[in-house]
Amino acid sequence: MTIVNTIILLCAIGVLAALALYFVAKKFKVEENPLYDEVEAMLPGANCGGCGLPGCRKLAVKLVDSPSLEGLYCTVGGEATMDKIGEFLGKKVQSKEMQVAVLKCNGTCAKRPKTINYEGISSCAFAATQLSGDTACSFGCIGLGDCESVCQFGGIKINPETKIPEFDTSICTACGQCAQACPRHLIELRKTNKKDMKIYVACSNTDKGAVARKACTAACIGCGKCAKVCQNEAITVSNNLAYIDPNKCKLCRKCVEECPTGAIIETNFPPRKKKEETNE
């Protein structure tokens, strides 16, 4: 009998507690614009800060409250998400060009030999304060993985053979966290297209050509041949370093062929047709 009494008593406590919770939840409910919840549900929920606001909820609030969607863009959700939200709220979406992160350094272990043995914690930010790098290039990638650990989407991996990061552009949302984390500012968010075809100078070394080349076989020596051959005036050489403006570049690839050290990188292009030998 005591067992039956106990069960009844516990059930009664349970029901009372449930009722109490229900009434409290109703009475103390915070009234918010229901649109906030709906727009937040449409956002990816990564809370990465790529939009410049702290968290998806804050972006949802701003999207609902602002008169226009100018300056607000979720790089993780991309066009699809922004279009959906724009349609739902009845506001025009500002289209943003597609961007991905690139590393302006191609100093792999093979190309840029180590000159000293670094023993310290695996933090690029820390190593950058202690020494100018464990190779002869004091501008290049330190390779300890600050970018890898800061990427929330798992889009960056330090290749154990080359010791520089590789970016998975299918995952990259251009949130910019890796660019902020790199103490040498080697990561750039560069304009790209749907096929992720891009051309960029994978070097940040501003030392004189001979010095840079001695440190790394893939260094930009500032010879200027790329600038000469570019027909769109997209390339500028300053401080012994070339830079390709992604807005002017027409992806013709002439500079890639011309570069004597292979410092300019092209990604996701179809293989070139072989030149036929002509007898002059």
């Binding site: 023993e119 310290g120 914690i121 304060t129 100018s132 004091s138």
Partner: protein, 453 residues
């Protein structure tokens, strides 16, 4: 015996070059003199490529209140003025001077080795001579001395303390100087007393140098107001704050200068340089460097011209010893490991320690066992295990709350950890983040105050 009360560790002393007489290192073919060998703004070069210079010619002018001037340490021609890497690989502006071998000195410099005991200078004259000679703290901190001798007007100085502790293992430069140049050091102390307008000075010397204590006591008896105080051997006794506590019992409040509690601390090598500057008009162009290591045949105290390349210093004594895996500029607790052996010796380079393969590598790290040795060892009364954990998680507000900015990176925590955890590495990282945040907050506060006005 007097000592500081909080923390402290006992690393192996390894004073291999103790008792060795100071030897003159041969003059190099060229010297590379950095414009930034001190805390504060780098000096501005006042020579151009092709200029002829003599030993003691000013080549860099002090730039601002906290800055120091730089002088040529050889006679010859300026070969290059360029951004060149220092021993950690960071590029700094440096002046390269090719030595013409003629050993030409500036006329104003008195080259005799007689002891000058002339104290007929005013405080201002002494400070001006020190500033002109480019003297900075030679214990390693490299703070411009003329600035130290001019504390803010509301701070009254009543204590001059001379740092003869030399608590870092291996280093014996100050020890050798105290044995061979005790009179000159005492005259330097008298000059500093005059510059600060105090009548007494205390010299703290660690008890592992009994011959230096005895000799300095004997010599100081001839001068007025100089007291030699033996100190217990404990690292980091040579730290400014801890020397002040051991010699006067006072503690410097956080984020304040020692002048706030009436104390000014000066290293013995710096005091000797002050003597040479005031009595002999000789600027800071050379210093004693302890070149040592367990693998070294002949560890010694060498008198080296500022700007001599480290590779040249080694070449003159038979090269870097075999099986050397690490060369440290300074002592093993706070010194920096050298990346670039062609970098120059600077005003603050007190030693070159060569570590063999067995000594050079860090031991394998294991789990923190919460033994508390780091807390026992920290001379500032911090909790390194906690700062380490907070720094790993980037919890900057908590780091500031736990006083991470008090840390002066002495290394006692990492030294005493039985699990060989890189405590100081993460604390440094945390400190940098904390300083960044504090600076940003100060700037914001300043801006909001400006907006109000």
């Amino acid at each position: 015996m007097k000592t500081f009360t909080i923390g402290g560790v006992h690393p192996k002393e390894n004073k291999l070059s103790s008792g060795k007489k100071i030897e003159r290192s041969p003059l190099p073919e060229k010297v590379i003199i950095p414009m930034a060998q001190h805390i504060g703004a780098p000096a501005n070069p006042i020579v151009a490529v092709g200029d002829a210079v003599k030993i003691g010619t000013k080549i860099g002018e002090s730039n601002g209140f906290v800055s120091a001037s730089v002088h040529s340490s050889v006679s010859g021609v300026v070969e290059k003025i360029d951004m060149m890497p220092d021993f950690a690989g960071f590029k700094k502006q440096m002046v390269v001077i090719a030595n013409n071998g003629k050993d030409e000195w500036e006329e104003s410099i008195d080259r005799s080795s007689e002891l000058n005991t002339n104290l007929n200078f005013t405080a201002e004259e002494i400070k001006a001579k020190i500033a002109n000679a480019g003297i900075v703290g030679m214990g390693g901190a490299t703070f411009p001395i003329s600035v130290k001798l001019s504390p803010p007007k509301d701070m009254v100085i009543d204590n001059l303390l001379i740092n003869g502790a030399e608590c870092e293992p291996y280093l014996t430069a100050d020890h050798a100087l105290m044995l061979e140049k005790a009179d000159e050091i005492c005259v330097g102390i008298e000059l500093l007393m005059k510059a600060l307008n105090v009548t007494t000075a205390k010299v703290g010397i660690e008890n592992n140098k009994p011959d230096a204590i005895a000799h300095m006591t004997e010599v100081a008896a001839k001068y007025q107001g100089i007291e030699i105080v033996p100190l217990k051997v404990k690292y980091p006794q040579g730290s400014e704050k801890h020397l002040i506590q051991a010699l006067t019992g006072r503690e410097v409040p956080p984020r304040q200068l020692p002048a706030f509690i009436g104390c000014v601390v000066c290293n013995v090598a710096t005091t000797f340089a002050v003597y040479e500057a005031v009595e002999k008009n000789k600027p800071l162009i050379e210093r004693i460097v302890t070149v040592t290591g367990t693998g070294m045949q002949n560890p010694s105290n060498l008198l080296v011209r500022i700007g001599t390349r480290i590779s040249d210093v080694f070449a003159a004594i038979g090269g870097v010893p075999e099986h050397t895996d690490k060369i440290i500029a300074g002592g093993p607790m706070m010194g920096k490991a050298i990346q670039n052996i062609d970098a120059p010796i600077m005003k603050g380079s007190s030693g070159l320690v060569c570590m063999t393969e067995q000594e050079a590598h860090r031991k394998k790290e294991s789990n923190c066992i919460r033994c508390g040795r780091c807390v026992d060892g920290c001379p500032m009364g911090l909790e390194p295990y906690l700062l380490y954990a907070l720094s790993k998680q980037s919890m900057v507000n908590e780091l500031i709350e736990h006083n991470v900015t008090d840390c002066f990176e002495c290394g006692s925590c990492s030294f005493s950890c039985p699990a060989h955890k890189p405590l100081l590495d993460y604390i440094r990282l945390g400190k940098a983040k904390a300083m960044q945040q504090l600076k940003a907050e100060m700037a914001k506060k300043q801006q909001s105050e400006n907006n109000k006005n």
